[in-house]
């Protein structure tokens, strides 16, 4: 790691080399071991960060979590989803960590095939019914 790279990464990731991305921290340590300039830059960055940490901070007041939980208990929220087929499908969608198209496309395919099968059966029945009606009306001589 050369000087310019080190200074760039120092600016990006800060003076705690343990927080640098994997591999870079070790390279930085090795570079600092042989370069006084880099060690001084690292020390300067750490002093700068220490000064930033002097910034004021107030801890939250005690019981903040309990107040939030109490506030939620007083809030009326929309009815929880009731058990239903749609609810179950919704739960499947949200529970399985897959992109939605991976579930939606096969599901659509299956639904489409089922719809096609049912329609074909219904249409066949219709055709049969129509032929039967013709037979009754015209008699067996119709096709002669």
């Amino acid at each position: 790691m050369d000087r310019d790279e080190f200074l760039k990464y120092l600016e990006l990731y800060g003076g705690d080399l343990g927080r640098w991305p994997s591999g870079l921290g070790e390279e930085a340590r090795a570079a600092c071991a042989v370069s006084r300039e880099m060690r001084e830059a690292l020390d300067q960055e750490r002093r700068f960060e220490d000064s930033l940490m002097e910034r004021g901070f107030e801890e939250p007041s005690p019981g903040l979590e309990a107040r939030i939980i109490s506030a939620a208990a007083r809030v009326k929220r929309p009815e929880a989803r009731k058990s239903s087929v749609l609810g179950l499908l919704g739960a499947v969608f949200t529970a399985i960590p897959l992109p939605r198209p991976a579930i939606a496309l096969p599901l659509l395919l299956v639904l489409g095939m089922a719809a096609g099968y049912l329609y074909a059966n219904y249409a066949e029945q219709d055709t049969d019914n129509a032929q039967y009606a013709e037979l009754l009306y015209y008699g067996e001589d119709y096709n002669e």
Partner: protein, 205 residues
Amino acid sequence: MDTTVTLPLGQMGIETKEFTDEGLMGRIRNGDREAFSMLVMRHTKKYYSLAYRMLSSREEAEDIVQESFLILWTNPASWDGGRQTKFTTWFYRVVWNACIDRKRKNTPLPMEDGFDPPDEGRGAEEALEMKRNKENIDACIGELPESQQTALALCFYEGVSNREAAEIMGLSVKALESLLMRAKASLRSKLGGDKGREDANNGQR
């Protein structure tokens, strides 16, 4: 089989396999108050810390965190777990947006009048020095553009990775890194300049 587990409040921060954030969100969608409580106990301090860094006010930060958790409770479907956004990343974004809205609504507070502390010796002087330092750093950070303040708050103060911070802010990693570098360069210049003046003043005493 009843799988309900009642944990003492002190243990609610423990994240076990059965009680991941994503798992708890699933239960919250079904109105599970215990799951909501666990999430609150686990994450309140973290999000309070971000809100405080953005707003520099304990009361405002507490309000923001409470409002954000209530949004989560009343509309849990607003987090789309199917998109594989981590809950923590999404909720950072909710809190951050709430902070930005609050900052824009707030009118600047009048500056406090200076005061002379009673002369109680060196201890009081050092305490005053520390107070001035803190206020100076707060003021310098407050002068940064919002986006730089956020990048600094997330990456430096909250320890969020650059990648996650970029996702929270809806930026590329490069853009986020650019914000960080500019923020630090500005602060180095302001604080370094102030320190130079301070050293000069100390030399004149």
